[in-house]
Structures are given as C-alpha cells and as structure tokens.
C-alpha cells in the first residue's frame, strides 16, 4: 500500500478515471463512431453501386455499338444488293426496249414500204384507166363515131397495159 501511495495511486481517483473513461466511451460510441461508421459504410456501398452501374453501362454501350455496326454492315450489304439488282434489271430493261423498238421500227418501215407499193400500184392503175379513157375519147373524136364501147375499152386497156 505504501508503494501505491508513493506512486500516487489513489483508489478514489482511479475509480473516477475509470468512470470518466466509460462516460467518454459511451458518448463517443453513441455520437461519433456509430454515425460516422454508418455514413462511411453507406458511402462505400454507394460508391460500389455507382461503379457497378458504370461498368454495366459501359458493357451495354459496347453491346449497342457492336449491334449498330452489325446493323450498318447489313444495311450496306442490302443496299449494295439492291443497287446491283436494279442495275441488272435496268440493263435488261434497256435491252428489251431497244430490241422492241428496233422491231417496231422495222415493222413500221415494212408497212410503209408496203403501203407505198400499194399506192404506187393503185396510182398506176388509175393512170392507166385515165389514159385508156383519154385514148378512147381521143380516138372517138378522131374517128368521129362511137365504136362498140365495151370492145374498144378492152382493146385499149390491153394496149395500155402492154405499154
């Protein structure tokens, strides 16, 4: 006991210090540690969640980009195909049109030639008839009398035709 006294250890003071420490412990735990730890924990969770979200978003973005590329590639392919198809179609169509028009032109030319020949023939026969009539008239006038009309006509026609 003498040793303790010399070291200044005093039961009352010791007890007072212990009580004081427990009061401090309670106050700090209740008003400082618990709320701060809670806040820290919450913040840690929030940050973790944020990071996870960011990662997910990044992943999704990459996926979308991939999809976009795929779609674009597909569209380009399709467009190419369509263009090629339509080009082929156009060439084919043009050929068809050209051959058809050529055919038509040929037909028109042939028709025109036919018509022309017919016209010529008709005109010629008309002219022959006229000439025959004229000759008949002239001969009548020259002879002064009417010959057998029908017989004459036939003869003249034959002559004219043989001209």
């Amino acid at each position: 006991m003498d040793l303790l006294n010399n070291l200044g250890i005093n039961g009352k003071l010791l007890l007072a210090q212990i009580i004081n420490f427990f009061v401090l412990f309670y106050v700090l735990k209740r008003f400082a540690f618990s709320p701060i730890l809670k806040v820290l924990e919450e913040r840690r969770k929030k940050i973790e969640r944020g990071l996870a979200d960011a990662e997910a978003a990044e992943k999704k973005l990459q996926e979308i980009e991939k999809k976009e590329k795929k779609i674009l590639l597909k569209a380009r392919k399709e467009a190419d195909q369509i263009i090629r198809k339509s080009e082929a179609q156009a060439i084919k169509n043009g050929e068809i049109i050209i051959t058809e028009s050529r055919k038509q032109a040929e037909k028109i030319i042939i028709d025109a030639k036919k018509e022309l020949a017919e016209e010529k023939r008709k005109m010629l026969s008309d002219v022959k008839q006229e000439v025959a009539d004229l000759i008949l008239l002239a001969t009548e006038k020259a002879i002064g009398e009417k010959i057998n009309e029908n017989k004459d006509k036939e003869i003249i026609k034959k002559v004219v035709n043989n001209l």
Partner: protein, 248 residues
Amino acid sequence: MEISLTPEIIFNWNGFGITNTFLMTLVISFLIITVSFFFSRRIKSTPRGFQNVLETILEALLNLTDSITENKRQSRQFFPLVATIFIFVLLCNWVEIVPGLGTIGVYRVHHGEETLTPFIRSSSADLNVTLALALIAVSAAQFFGVSTLGIRKYAGKFLISPFRKPYVVGTFVGLLEIVSEFSKIISFSFRLFGNIFAGEVLLTVMLILVPYFIPLPFLFLEIFVGLIQALVFAMLTLSFLKKATEAH
C-alpha cells in the same frame, strides 16, 4: 522547481482531492463530449471541412483495426473501445505541449518549502489514469474472450489439467498466461506513464534551462512521442483483444 512523481492536489472537494491531472481529464472529456455532440448534429453524407478530418482519422483507424483483426465484424466490435482509447490517450499526451505546463499554478507551502502546484499536467503523467486505462483494456480482453469463446473454453486457456497431453508443461504454460495477464496491466500503465512523465520532465527542465527556441525541437519530439504512445496503447489493446478471442 520540484519534480513530483505524483500529481499535485489543487484543491479539496468534499474530502476528494482534485489533482491537476484529474482536472485535465475533465477538461479533455468535456472537450471530446462537446465536439461529439456538436458534430453528431451535422453529419452529412457528403462531408465538408471538419467532418473530412474526423472521417479520415477514423477511417485510417478502422482500416488499421481491420488489418489486425482480419475480420470485419470483429473490428466493428473492437473499434469503439480502441478508438476511444486512442483519442483519449492522444489528447492526454498532448496536454504536455500546452503552453503553461508546469509554470502556471499556485504557490503552496509544502514540507516547509514554498513550491509551485501547477494546474496543467498531462493526464498520462498520472499513474491513476494509465492504470485505469490498463485495467479497462485488460478487463475488456477478458470480457470479449469470454463472450466469444464461452467461459469454459476461455478458462481452458489458463487452467490446463496436468493429466492431459503436454502434462505438467501445459499447466505451467497456463499459469504463465495468468501471470502475463497481470503483467500486461503493469506494462500498459508504466509504459505510458513513463514516456509521458519523462517527456514532461524533459520539457520543464529545458524550459527552465534555456527558455527560448531550444525547447522547440523537444516540443516537436513530444508531439511525436504522444502520437506514438497513443497508437501503441490502442494497438496493443487491439492485439490483446484479438488474442483473447482466439481459441488455442
């Protein structure tokens, strides 16, 4: 100048001698309690200013605790006690760098001589404080040991039957464990007391010998010593708690 191993009594209150160290303890407790009250009202999820400082300190302590316990749940259990010890001891230690240490006080006639009774004396330079802390730390170790392992298993650490495997050796080791629990109290209290008391004496003597500039490096040294001793006390407590909760 008189250097006293024991804290000086400033006044008596109902037969209870209020010492300068007890006064300092009260001041520190008042400070901590006020700050905690003030602080708890304005904790925000987005920290600002003072909250940042506190959070940084507490988070560093928590990480340190985690690294020693390697168990999140257990470090949550130990953290309040260890952190309280750290903060309290740190502030007690740093009282010694407060200006006026050992110089402001009242003159009293003591043993026929007029000596100065200083008001300011580091609480850690009082064996009552360090012994109280040591008792709390060691009792807490017993408490956590019993509550996690159960009383039978925990007692089995100390009381080993001489008829089991290592026979008498085991019993002897158990006895040594009991002795070591008590020696922890002494080593805890005297380590802190010795360091801080020596620092105080050093600072007082330096101040009296060369009042200007020369004490400055010693002041910085004492800031460092105070921090280290607080950390040592807290970490040793933590490691004892950890050891007490582990089965053999």
